[in-house]
Subunit: 344 residues, 2 copies
């Protein structure tokens, strides 16, 4: 059995879902892949838990029951105020998992954490989009220098492996990538169309269900979809930056526009599109015909069409969710673990 | 620049499309990946061409103009009657491309070619399904022993990367895989529904367009889809064999069955399905509702739904075509070339 030591940086919804997934599926994975995942450290904004031999499934589940930012109180492994530097002075993980929140201005704390891990020779799996959106090529070049692997499939479409799919299309020239890559706004638009309710009511419904954040700006102003387009553009080696993306504001959408579209037998979708040839990226409220495959993508579902020089591919799946995101992280962890333990 | 030496075994439609692709896109790929692809040998049923320094783009294109099984006449590199053994005594390729035709009884000549390549320490890219269908675990174990890489994404859905997608879903338990994975029969069924013509007329149309073979049995009797299910089952580590797959015979479908389905607001599709939990695989004419995503998959398009323990993913794309298949081979070649030249 190959023991893989993991440090989880960030312990909100996604970090906790990953901890639960490891607690519940760890044995299954050990049987299937001969890889034992040992969580040797977990950090949140106010401290960390460090256990060199790896936390037991029971300990992981107990940590998930503590309130936000309180894991430092967990006896005897809690360390108040511990940050990445202190953690790495105590343990040497094989894989660093970055699941801190996205801050598109500074990229912090994710950016510094990731660079510290690379500098320490630790492979990195990322769900926090901001560091990649702001410093993709810097991170990748630094990792290459240090012989470190970086994976980040959880950043786009969560459990639906768009990033892997794009990486696998090596012999193609990708011309256009277009689709629905934000579940919250697609849910709001679906509600507006099906129940004929204004934006504000649809938003309230989404918030009540936990689909939209109390402050929904990152989603409804198109920042989240734009950030995903930036990551996609880097993956296909045609990088753009966040400010290159033209964005509509869904909160300004009048219900009458929905009525108008319905009358024309069309519907409105919040479409993210990167036209690689024209190097033009946008996140726009777009009128599409009912027989377009994207018109059937409802609620929090996501879908992406990839147009290459020789074919068209469509990938559809849920684009968000804690457990979906945790599974995407797990895919990346296992893919790195396989390389570490056997070679490719 | 990393020079990668390639041997192409089989020079029918797919082998020629790959040769053209390398001739036309080779420079582009060298610029993009720093990898130069040198075709050092090509073989067909009656001989081979061997050129240690690599065939030039012009030479590759000239070879594509020769009639089937006549490349041995190409001066000064043609060798009448040369088989894999003689070829490998003259050149040492990095990657062996197996694009001979599928023979589901013996697996030959593909199976022997592949084993010879592995034994010679050559990585292998496969488009010929038969050797994998008959001897998947033997091939993989032997390759593992020899430290050799095997790739075969072209065997299922051609240019649509289902195999890569399945491999990337490491943290999931896949429960059901279901879809349309044979383009020829989907074309015939689409014609029967849209033009209300009997099977025999739809088949003739497909044959006239080069979509169906003169002898269409492998497609219409479900063997091709069943073979793909066997490969899929091996990829997800839940292997079944060809005889485990229950098959319908599309040629027996009466047009009245199509009318009946239409009357019920349904339609008929030739659905391949592997229920992993129940370990039951089938290729069956299936009545599906019009709002099922598979009902909109028309003509030679393919689509697969993947149901896992935590989500559902749909992948849609063209499932056949010479250039699409050649691009899938190219993806596999580049993915091996990257590992050879840089490590993972």
């Amino acid at each position: 059995v190959n023991n893989i030591k993991i440090a989880i940086m960030g312990f909100g919804n996604v970090g906790r879902s990953l901890a639960k997934l490891i607690a519940f599926k760890g044995e299954d994975i050990e049987r299937k892949y001969n890889i034992k995942l040992n969580v040797v450290a977990i950090a949140d904004s106010r401290g960390a838990v460090v256990r060199e031999e790896g936390l037991t499934p029971y300990e992981l589940l107990k940590l998930c029951e503590l309130p936000r930012s309180y894991i430092f109180t967990y006896e005897p492994y809690g360390i108040p105020g511990a940050k990445v530097k202190e953690i790495y002075s105590r343990v040497a993980p094989d894989i660093h998992i970055e699941v801190t929140p996205s801050n598109y201005e500074s990229g912090e704390p994710g950016l510094s954490n990731i660079l510290y891990a690379i500098n320490s020779g630790v492979n990195v799996v990322i769900a926090n989009k901001a560091p990649l959106v702001l410093k993709y090529s810097h991170i990748m070049q630094y990792a290459k220098q240090r012989g470190i692997q970086i994976r980040f499939k959880a950043t786009v479409m969560a459990g639906t492996p768009l990033i892997d799919l794009l990486k696998s299309l090596k012999g193609y020239n990708i011309e256009v990538i277009e689709g629905i890559i934000n579940g919250t706004t697609n849910y709001i638009l679906t509600e507006m169309h099906e129940d004929l309710i204004p934006y504000s009511d649809a938003l309230k419904k989404a918030q009540a269900l936990g689909i939209a954040e109390p402050n929904p700006d990152l989603d409804v102003k198109g920042w989240d979809a734009a950030a995903k387009l930036v990551i996609i553009s880097n993956v296909i080696n045609e990088p753009i930056s966040l400010n290159d993306v033209e964005r509509d504001d869904l909160s300004k959408l009048d219900l009458r526009e929905v009525f108008k579209a319905i009358k024309e037998n069309m519907l409105l979708k919040f479409i993210a599109k990167y036209d690689v040839k024209e190097k033009r990226a946008l996140v726009k409220i777009t009128k599409i015909p009912r027989d377009d495959i994207l018109s059937n993508v409802k609620g929090t579902m996501n879908a992406v069409k990839i147009k290459t020089d020789i074919n068209n591919i469509v990938l559809i799946g849920k684009g968000a969710g804690r457990m979906e995101t945790a599974h995407a992280l797990m895919d990346d962890i296992l893919s790195i673990a396989e390389v570490i333990s056997h070679g490719p």
